[in-house]
Symmetry: D2
Subunit: 99 residues, 4 copies
């Protein structure tokens, strides 16, 4: 039994999303070790770029699942619910593009 909203788009990929996030958590720890060991700044920046790309990739996957499930389902119903879901998705996309 879950406390969540049943039927989120990403639930079919939950294990994959969790695996990617654990890897990203590991990258954050790896960066701390690099700073503690006083590694070269440029090498640290290369790892930060890799971690940013990994995060973006998680975001794009979640967004695709969200459009495929929540937005498509709301659109099938139509009306205010569809409009609200599209508005919400567009705002999330804008935050991603601008971050």
């Amino acid at each position: 039994m879950t406390t969540g909203h049943a039927g989120h788009g990403y639930l079919g990929n939950k294990d994959d999303v969790l695996k990617r996030l654990r890897r990203i958590e590991g990258q954050a720890r790896g960066l701390q070790r690099m700073v503690e060991d006083e590694k070269y700044c440029i090498d640290i920046l290369t790892q930060v770029s890799a971690m940013t790309k990994a995060l973006q990739s998680v975001a794009l996957g979640l967004l695709d699942d969200h459009l495929s499930h929540c937005v498509v389902r709301a659109a099938a119903v139509g009306g205010a619910e569809a409009e609200e879901k599209v508005r919400e998705a567009s705002e999330a996309i804008a935050r991603l593009v601008r971050s």
Copy 2:
């Protein structure tokens, strides 16, 4: 009579999109003048950032219109057409986030 696919999401905002694109074209010409007049590099970069933000803003507007119209319409029909529209939108979002 149009030669285009009737009913694109942005058609209701066509004049607004064209006005923004003309302003962006003007920014591109302004940048050329700055380079010809040998303005300071940092001032040129500031204008490039402003132009990039203006372009992103056009893209986010087009995408929102696309989700509200084409994707919602395809979702109401459902099936392969809905899946194809979502896949296409997700790919466009990924290109925006990564550019």
Copy 3:
């Protein structure tokens, strides 16, 4: 005789920068034609992404020239002038990364 600050980093590549900016101006005009001809939203978005990448590429070129010339020259002098140039460059980089 120029009215500009003699010795900007990009001056050696002025023709190349101008050529790229003219191409970007052409992309802005091409986008207007696509909207006037009511082309498919996703195809317009693909062109916007290409134009954004072209703009970023101009920015990265200008920044590299700026670091190689203005910043290196100020650093050779040292003191407040060097600090000021680095601060200015860092702010321009932040605007690019966030745009």
Copy 4:
């Protein structure tokens, strides 16, 4: 005694950089909890955008320190060393802008 290259730009801010990276690691764990608890996709995406911004902010800080110290020091020496440091910094900036 450190095993690192003495004098990296960020060493003066080492504790601050580590604190920010620990907070980012915490955000990665928070995201895993949100997925496990099946929170709403859009709320998860909002947290991903916040985490991406935090990472970018660390990167911009490291880069500013790098320019202020390593690049300025190499530029004072001049020659191939200065060119190499600028090339390396420009490549790191390009990776950040494109990620």
